[in-house]
Subunit: 469 residues, 2 copies
């Protein structure tokens, strides 16, 4: 007969009894097949209620430690190997997380200075949304995103990009990477995807990680070449014709028509037009998109709020040609939209009420001042003698050619020693035969005014240091 | 010599000039190779500044309409086919979007009544986050999610599920569907994934859409069977052992060990444990997870805030065994986290400050009242004669067996006519040989008290209607 000490219980009797019996089963004191005392006997022997014992038995049954034979009673189940006890301490495993090195002066990546994010408007709008749209916030968003946001984006594309699109052509997702996943499912993962060389290495990772054939097509001064596309035998060209990263090349109209002609020359060919930073084309009118001049439904347009608002708000979108939009809704409507309703509605208000336009104008002015400052400082420094600035009046970066005999790796390592992170154009060549152009990328979105001044000084010292060696 | 009328310009001269020249090139008035007037001549002839002309020429050059030969001048580029003008009207294409039928009484899907979402706390916390964490909100989140949220989830798992996990084992993503994508990349898309039959049809769509081999393994009263897994030749079992949907089955401990033994019997076998509604197990202690009793790093645990908070806040997470966590960080750290920082920090505060626990307790009480009410109403109605309620004291639904000779399809169509959406268990059989059990799913998370009363009345009428036929 099993007995437990019920005198010093800290908590419910039911829970205590459950734990005692479970431990006895786990430790083998109670053997498989052994009959447990009836509820009545157990209750009488220990001076507790039968209900309490019933509850404990029920719990043990539901977890499989005990089984019952009707009219006969309760028996210990056969639990092999159930011997592990959970340690009562914090766990700290040896998980090796890649550490992002942090630099005092980061000229390599985009970032948003917290002073530049429109916190007060965003806070106001999100509060309004939570107060006025309770019902809508709880209603499941369509796969493509909430209608209001897609309408706001369609209006934005019309006034900013001269693009006329049906809001139903717009698909919203948590980042362009996520949308690439949709595209691959839509166009086929047996297709060959070509990206620009030099180009964005992350795209290679994204395609390769999904076991998708990813080729490189070489560029010339007008952007990706049709010869390169043909050599790659690509079905899908994934390109940034409006402002290529990192070269800054804007594809001229004649090349655009050549690339569209390439897409039209065979069935199943498509172009993914990544227009990631069109909002920050700092001078002149924006270039019409490939999507706008495409008459044959061959172009998928992509854009993101990562650059124009913040990379930490994960909202991107793509515009599908009509037949692909229909295909999307037919085959992929089972997916849930990956962006929270709360942020979809907040962003919709942000765009519709004109705050987005104001924000872009403010940021464009800010970045053009930053650009001017950094170029002026460069030209006023001794760097002028050994640097040639290559401007493409667009985006948040420019290129600098450095007159040196050192390798790009050496230059980068010297900067790194001084806390300056810089990337070389050669890092963006995806094939082995990198051109040694000594071209370095200067991305100024992360630096405020003070930092620009300091960075230029440090770069000047560093360069004069290794040029003397 | 080209001349334009500058007398009646509405807007900037630069923009007007740009448009005039572009249109003349597009319409063929200016021929490819034709020399454009020099800036000085053009300016003198029209009484405008050379800067304005320079700007217009620059824009035309950047778009490829014009090219320049240094020291010689500006020439018209060869633009073939550039004849399309953009219509100036709203676009409304024939895009067929699947329409979600709406029902007065929806017993089929989960939803959150806006009255139950903790709007005031959520608004307060998100405002605080936006005011106190400006810097952190702008810093790119690690792929796995921000550390604070992963710590909060680790603490929650410890106190609610008795699970001890390192926050670095936790990976946050915008919905479980997104995380399945990670898992497939981690375990391999050449593997065979088995799901429970009956089971969640959306999983089939998700795997098939990615061209992944997806098999069905049959269940018995203890959940998925090892025989079924073996027959399916699966490498990965995707299961809901803690509360299977829709049968409500909780896998007993003995079967858990059998399934773990299956996973241990061959290399590369894994179990995905979907614990989607454990917070709402309404009675008894929660069952320990498979993850907790797994000693061989074979179980990936998944959970979501869709059920416990709202499906419209897209935050889910998975807990990887240590070796898979290391593999994840090694091969997939290039991905961006799909959840916005704003909501990650808000949720972290919500959990850490105890609001989540309070919310769950409140909702558990609410749902158990709803459940009691609907069962009491059912048993007090004439439905009692023809219905048998199958309870599994868990989750947000139960099953009802209806005594009828009609097919499930007929029953469902009759309910539909009356505005009641009900699903049959047979709809969840993924193979052809459905069992005709006349079991229907009653999900009560969408109904408030009034609606419960009305729904029961309508169900009663409907059933008596077709039983009389």
């Amino acid at each position: 007969m099993i007995t437990y000490d019920f005198a010093h219980i800290d908590g419910s009797i039911y829970s205590y009894l459950y734990t005692c019996i479970k431990n006895d089963i786990l430790s083998g004191i109670l053997k498989p097949g052994e009959k447990l005392p009836s509820k009545r006997t157990f209750a009488n022997n220990n001076g507790i209620s039968t209900i309490t014992i019933q509850n404990a038995y029920d719990q043990l049954i539901s977890e499989g430690y005990v089984y019952t034979i009707p009219k006969k009673g309760y028996y210990v189940a056969n639990i092999e190997g159930m011997t592990r006890s959970i340690p009562n301490a914090d766990i700290n495993y040896d998980i090796r997380i890649p550490i992002r090195e942090s630099f005092e002066y980061d000229l390599s990546s985009n970032g948003v200075n917290p002073d530049n994010f429109p916190f007060s408007v965003w806070t106001k709008l999100s509060r309004e949304v939570m107060s006025n749209k309770k019902k809508e916030l709880m209603e499941i968003s369509p796969t493509s995103g909430i209608r209001l946001l897609r309408e706001a984006i369609a209006n934005h594309l019309k006034s900013f990009r001269g693009m006329l699109v049906d809001p139903n052509q717009i698909i919203i997702g948590a980042g362009t990477e996520y949308l690439y996943g949709y595209i691959v499912q839509l166009l086929g993962n047996d297709k060959i995807y070509a990206i620009e060389n030099p180009g964005y290495r992350k795209l290679v990772s994204i395609y390769k990680q999904r076991n998708i054939s990813c080729k490189y097509a070489y560029m010339d001064d007008s952007g990706i070449t049709v010869e390169g596309l043909k050599e790659s035998k690509a079905d899908v060209a994934h390109i940034c014709p409006n402002h290529h990263f990192p070269t800054g090349i804007t594809m001229p109209a004649s090349r655009r028509y050549e690339v569209l002609a390439w897409a039209n020359a065979a069935e199943g060919r498509y172009i993914i037009e990544d227009d990631y930073d069109s909002e920050f084309r700092l001078e002149g009118k924006p270039i019409p998109t490939l999507f706008s001049i495409d008459e044959c439904e061959k172009v998928i347009y992509m854009n993101t709020f990562s650059k124009s608002l913040s990379p930490t708000i994960r909202i991107s979108y793509m515009v599908l040609p009509v037949h692909l939009a229909n295909e999307f809704y037919k085959t992929m409507s089972f997916y849930s939209c990956t962006v929270s309703n709360f942020e979809q509605y907040t962003l919709a208000e942000f765009i519709e009420r004109g705050y987005f336009e104001k924000h872009i104008n403010r940021m464009r002015l800010y970045y053009s001042k930053q650009r001017r400052r950094i170029i002026d400082k460069l030209e006023a420094s001794q760097l002028k003698e050994v640097c040639e600035i290559q401007e493409n009046d667009a985006g948040l970066h420019f290129l600098v050619r450095l007159d040196t005999n050192q390798t790009d790796e050496f230059v980068i390592s010297k900067f790194k020693e001084k806390g300056v992170k810089v990337e070389a154009l050669s890092d963006y060549y995806l094939t082995e035969e990198k051109e040694k152009q000594h071209l370095f990328i200067v991305n100024y979105s992360n630096l405020n005014e003070e930092k620009i001044d300091d960075a230029i000084k440090i770069i000047e010292e560093t360069v004069s240091g290794f040029r003397r060696c």
